[in-house]
């Protein structure tokens, strides 16, 4: 019997699975997908890996760059990413937290040049184990706070 999909299959594009519920919309935001093509979101599926549930995001006709998929690791380090071509999985992409973050993370320091003087947001990985990053302007070290992740500048 054919499996009934709750989020329909795509022929070409990118499928992001195992996003912790309810962060799919945050992934949409940091990828800047708002006005670009078709994407479908499923929220709150049961998951063995994620006890709080998982979200799925399917982006049609767009193959995400590795720099974009690594950004997803900031809020969904266990996400699985499949690149779909002609209805088949053409690549299972391994993601890892990025060395550099440009644009999508707001510095939590209100007196930082990125918040006060229009400097472009830029963080470099400080410690992989604690997932902390250092702002390249005010030099403060920060953890990843989903609320501070926004659409790309």
């Amino acid at each position: 019997m054919e499996r009934a999909y709750k989020v329909y299959a795509i022929n070409n594009g990118t499928v992001i699975d195992h996003i912790p519920t309810p962060l799919a919309l945050k992934v949409v935001e940091i990828l800047g997908l708002g006005n670009e093509g078709i994407f479908t979101i499923g929220v709150g599926f049961q998951s063995k890996r994620l006890p709080g549930g998982k979200d799925i995001l399917k982006i049609e006709n767009r193959i995400l760059l590795e720099s974009e998929t690594d950004t997803i690791a900031l809020i969904a380090p266990d996400a699985t990413i499949n690149i779909i071509k002609d209805g088949r999985v053409s690549e299972k992409r391994i993601i890892s937290i990025p060395q550099s973050i440009f644009g999508v993370m707001q510095c939590p320091n209100p007196n930082c040049a990125t918040n006060k003087l229009g400097a472009h947001r830029h963080f470099e990985l400080e410690d992989k184990n604690t997932m902390t990053y250092r702002c390249q302007y005010c030099e403060r070290v920060t953890e990843i706070i989903p609320e501070n992740l926004t659409a790309p500048e």
């Binding site: 930082c112 990125t114 003087l117 229009g118 030099e139």
Partner: protein
């Protein structure tokens, strides 16, 4: 060619131990009378977006003493930012008027941003609570001048260790030279735990203490005193009680030993008694004066006047 030519001086984090040595030894050469006229025909912009006395005057003195000329402003009221011009545009404009620029700004990261849009070297003269690298250079030069070395010294750092950018930078710099350190502060103003963790990771020897007398067994070479800011305390009485315990007198020097040298980035309020000024232990005014040869050296290095 010097590795400093055309270089921006923004943060101590960008500097290697060798870089620190270059600045310290060049400052010593300048003070000894070498590199005269190293800024001849050079024009330096002095852009102070917040008030400063020592830093601005010593930079301007450094330029004039080295034969250069200096222009700029001493407070943001004099800049076009009042008219709504962006900070980046102000810097893009001034970069065409000078051979190097010195910037102080209350926003953290302002000097880094300036260095990205300027085509001449930018020297950070303080960006908010973040960095003030030339203060650390002159501190190191003063220590080197006094002891003839930077390695293996015993340093006490006292005062507001939680918020003080000067003490954070000095701690970082001295950790590169295998210093043994003691951090003396009120409980509410202790050195941040991430800095202590960094020191532990680097294997730096340090301890913490509540009063300078608690470090009397260490035979400290230097006690670096900083101001405890009144505004950090909600209750004026609490401030008074804390500040009283952090006042250096001749008795403190007797407890620490006659070898100790007292440093302070100034301005002091009442954390060092005036009776200490006339002792051979007090080197804080020499330290302030060393801002001039240190900044002459740095400006000479980044503009290519000193190779």
């Amino acid at each position: 060619m010097s590795s400093f030519k055309a270089r921006d001086i923004i943060s101590l984090r960008d500097m290697t131990t060798q870089d620190l040595w270059t600045v310290v030894t060049t400052a010593g050469e300048v003070k000894a009378g070498m590199h005269r006229g190293c800024l001849l025909d050079k024009t330096i912009a002095s852009l102070f977006f917040e008030p400063s006395t020592r830093t601005r005057l010593s930079f301007e003195s450094a330029v004039v003493k080295s034969g250069g000329s200096v222009f700029g402003f001493a407070d943001p009221g004099s800049s076009s930012q009042k008219k709504g011009e962006s900070f980046a545009d102000s810097i893009r404009t001034v970069t065409g008027y000078c051979d190097a620029m010195v910037i102080r700004h209350p926003v953290e990261g302002a000097a880094r941003l300036a260095s990205e849009v300027a085509s001449v070297p930018v020297i950070n003269a303080g960006d908010g609570a973040n960095q003030h690298p030339t203060q650390t250079f002159l501190d190191l030069f003063t220590i080197y001048e006094e002891f003839g070395r930077l390695e293996n010294l015993k340093i006490g750092i006292m005062g507001d260790l939680k918020y003080g950018r000067t003490v954070h930078s000095l701690t970082h710099a001295m950790s590169l030279f295998d210093a043994e350190m003691v951090f003396i502060s009120p409980p509410s103003l202790k050195m941040p735990s991430n800095i202590l963790s960094d020191l532990r990771e680097k294997g730096v020897s340090f301890r913490t203490a509540d009063t300078p007398e608690d470090a009397s067994d260490m035979n400290l070479d230097v006690l670096y005193v900083t101001r405890i800011q009144k505004e950090r305390f909600g209750d004026p009485l609490e401030y008074k009680n804390v500040a009283h315990g952090y006042r250096i007198t001749r008795d403190t020097i007797s407890a620490l030993g006659e070898q100790v040298r007292i440093m302070h980035p100034l301005p002091r309020v009442d954390e060092i008694a005036e009776e200490v000024d006339s002792t051979p232990n007090a080197i804080y005014f020499t330290q302030a004066h060393n801002g001039v040869p240190t900044r002459q050296a740095l400006l000479g290095l980044v503009t290519g006047g000193i190779n």
